[in-house]
């Protein structure tokens, strides 16, 4: 946290109504993709005072007017100032959002110097909470977490025919295998120094965002037993071995993220 916002959040915490608990704010943040401070100018319309979070592609800046579908009818009254937690609904010349919730900024808080910066930091902290919770859930769900290096990419070495025969379809995943040399085992048990991780090699739109592997790639990998291909075993050094997958965008992290993963594993 930046120094300038060390004190003001404490003030904010006492003045913001009705929400104060960080968990409540995190719940709002989790459901939101556009978060901004603003002033209700007329029913259903908010003038943006400061943008805290928005997708990169979205045009939204201070002074813009946003149409807000309130979470509760009649809850947004002209003149009200608040931090609005919202999700994008209609993108046209302007933006229409659905309100997830809001934190009212009362006159006392509005008068606090630096309050908007502090509010932004509170939102950022809540986002970090959400991100950590999501990552922790992935870690807990993983059967194995390793730090390692991709030694080789190869076609899958199935030990039995996949559940579904190969089809001519644009959405064929084109399964590939990454042979990962394990430098450090953070969770689970490997059968040796290497693990086999299957991933879709297809460039089809259906696999956009799925992690892909490349020889030489280093990382921290959250692995599941392969239930996707219909043939869960592979072959390595002549031995039948369990194959794994890492199909979620959080399953492949940078090597230096291992420390953060360790911290989350130790936490409550």
């Amino acid at each position: 946290m930046r120094t300038r916002s060390l004190i003001v959040p404490l003030v904010l915490t006492s003045l913001v109504v009705p929400l104060s608990a960080q968990t409540s704010r995190a719940a709002l943040v989790r459901q939101s993709d556009i978060i901004f401070a603003g002033t209700v100018t007329r029913p259903g319309v908010v003038r943006v005072d400061q943008v805290f979070e928005k997708p990169a592609a979205v045009s939204l800046a201070k002074g813009d007017s946003v149409t807000v579908l309130p979470a509760r009818a009649g809850s947004l009254n002209p003149g009200m100032r608040a931090t609005f937690y919202t999700t994008g609904w209609i993108y046209g010349r302007g933006i229409t959002v659905r309100e997830v919730g809001h934190e009212t900024i009362g006159p006392q808080l509005a008068a606090v110097a630096g309050s908007s910066t502090a509010q932004q930091d509170l939102v950022a902290r809540a986002r970090q909470q959400v991100n950590d919770a999501d990552l922790k859930a992935r870690i807990q769900a993983a059967v194995m977490v390793v730090v390692g290096r991709v030694e080789q990419i190869r076609p899958p070495a199935y030990t039995s025919a996949p559940a579904r025969p190969k089809r001519f379809t644009e959405h064929d995943p084109d399964w590939q295998e990454a042979i990962i040399h394990v430098d450090e085992l953070l969770k689970g048990a490997t059968g040796g120094e290497r693990v086999v991780v299957r991933f879709p090699g297809s460039r089809d739109v259906a696999f956009v965002g799925k992690p892909r592997f490349a020889a030489g790639q280093e990382g921290t990998f959250l692995l599941q037993k392969d239930t996707a291909t219909g043939s869960p075993l592979s072959v390595m050094a002549g031995q039948s071995v369990q194959a794994y997958t890492a199909l979620h965008r959080l399953d492949v992290l940078a090597k230096q993220d291992a420390q953060h993963v360790r911290t989350l594993m130790r936490g409550p």
Binding site: D33, A57, S59, W89, Y91, H171, V205, A206, R249
Partner: protein, 487 residues
């Protein structure tokens, strides 16, 4: 709004006239002014102003018009929910002013985006959609009674293991009949070409198998229904017979049902004289390369098919497909016509090398429209030329319009398809309405028929700009267009 559009188009042409001469060498003679955009033609970049910063590959566009409300249109592309990958809905585009402006609405039940989507109009403003949803790639049949509604579309049916759903709809007996062409990998005996038929507005569906012959184990992905007002339903599909690796040998087949597929054994009203089996063989033993990598420029190939029936004269039906002729082409599009309900077919009316995404439509007066994307030139000089042709004499003569001509090697592909495995052409009243995806550099030279951008651009510098005025990288955008039916 139309006046605004015309002014913007003229402004764009004026900007083109101000391009500086090339540096060095002899001074160039003053360029002759480009011809004005054809009267009545509109080309609109559909990305709304509030998403001016977007750089996604908005490929595989599709369009729906509403017969009883000329102002209302719906469209789609592989545009993701701007909210990001954690979003649980995907967007469609909606226009309430005849396509002049578009908004993006997150109403499809699919994580962030779809893996395939087509749609068709019910009684306005109802919309039916078929999607391959993310992340499962399962088929979802969807509907809404108001395409402008904020509510997530209702799921009528869902099942896995199908490919490329393609829905058409028609109003009959006070209900909507739906015909969803799908490649159903759960179909028996490798005869996967299927039409899911709903005679009650999506309440129930019945899978109708339309392949009557042996296959190599499956049909090609594209199954294309087309419905006439009298209830005649045609379906085109690829009868894949054998393969050597990714090189397929197959037939192009058209089946027909004369009663809206309401009988117990539908799609058997058109038989081939060679074997008396349902499904007329329009062309046989064609070579089709199924390539799931960049093959035609940065685009993949393998299942290119379009079918259109004259809605008010159901005897007339047009087909377009792509195969490899072997004359050095990557693939070639063929256009043919039947004037006797599919019993006999013409030879090629149009033969278009290195072309993809043909889309056909027949106007009320019988004029046929053809939209396609052709790769021209090589290397850095290669271009995707997006053309629209129309003809009233079976393409003995035709009127040709270049809607866009854009570099083919930029932007770099983010995924496949690069432009789409299909696009869409429709007709309503005295206009053809269509949609295609293309590189979005705001250079008027790329849009000889004019163009209007909703997103922020600097026309003088040919730059895309985000909301703050910073430059934005070139990407693939969906473009709506409207062209008057030729007089």
């Amino acid at each position: 709004m139309r006046v605004t559009t015309l002014i913007a188009a003229v402004a764009f042409v004026v900007a083109a006239c101000r391009r500086p001469p090339p540096p060095g060498g002899e001074p160039s003679p003053p360029p002759s002014p480009p011809p004005p955009p054809p009267e009545g033609v509109r080309v609109v970049d559909m990305i709304p102003a509030s998403l001016s910063g977007e750089t996604w590959q908005d490929a595989e566009p599709f369009l729906t018009v509403f017969a009883t409300n000329p102002n209302l249109l719906a469209a789609s592309a592989f545009t993701p929910n701007p909210g990001g990958p954690a979003s649980t809905t995907a967007p469609i585009y909606v226009s309430a002013d005849s396509g002049n402006t578009w908004s993006l609405r997150n109403t499809l039940p699919s994580n962030a985006q779809t893996a395939d989507i087509t749609h068709a109009a019910g009684e306005s403003p109802a919309l039916y959609a078929t999607i391959l949803s993310a992340p499962s790639i399962a088929l979802k049949d969807l509907e809404t009674n108001d395409v402008l509604s904020a509510t997530t579309m209702t799921q009528d049916a869902m099942r896995p293991n199908v490919d490329q759903p393609f829905v058409r709809a028609i109003r009959a007996a006070n209900t909507d009949r739906l015909y969803v062409g799908i490649n159903d990998f759960d179909a028996p005996n490798g005869r996967t070409a299927t039409v899911d038929v709903s005679l009650n507005g999506g309440t129930t569906f019945t899978s109708r198998r339309i392949e009557s012959r042996n296959t190599l184990g499956q049909n090609g992905p594209s199954i294309r229904p087309a419905v006439a007002q009298n209830g005649t339903v045609y379906v085109a599909y690829f009868g894949w017979r054998s393969n050597a690796g990714d090189t397929i040998t197959g037939d192009i087949v058209v089946a027909r049902d004369d009663n809206g597929a309401t009988g117990t054994t539908p799609f058997r009203d058109l038989r081939d004289p060679s074997d008396n089996q349902p499904g007329r063989l329009v062309a046989t033993s064609r070579t089709i390369v199924f390539s799931n990598g960049p093959t035609l420029g940065q685009e993949r190939i393998g299942s290119t098919l379009s079918l259109a029936v004259d809605a008010t004269h159901s005897d007339t039906v047009y087909i377009a497909w792509a195969d490899r002729v072997g004359s050095g082409d990557v693939q070639t599009v063929h256009v043919r016509r039947s004037l006797d309900r599919g019993a006999t077919w013409s030879n090629d009316l149009r033969t278009l090398p290195n072309t993809t995404n043909p889309s056909l439509a027949v106007a009320d007066d019988g004029t046929v429209g053809l939209l396609y994307q052709q790769l021209t030139g090589t290397g850095n000089a290669s271009r995707w030329v997006n053309r629209f042709e129309q003809s009233r004499d079976g393409f003995a003569t035709h009127k040709d319009l270049v809607l866009a001509t854009v570099p083919a090697n930029a932007p770099a592909s983010q995924f496949l398809p690069y432009l789409g495995d299909y696009n869409m052409l429709l007709t309503r009243g005295t206009a053809f309405l269509g949609i295609f995806s293309a590189a979005n550099t705001p250079d008027p030279a790329n849009f000889p028929s004019g163009v209007v951008f909703q997103r922020r651009v600097n026309q003088a510098t040919h730059q895309l700009l985000d909301g703050s005025g910073s430059p934005v990288d070139v990407s693939i955008d969906p473009f709506f267009f409207s062209v008057p039916v030729m007089p």
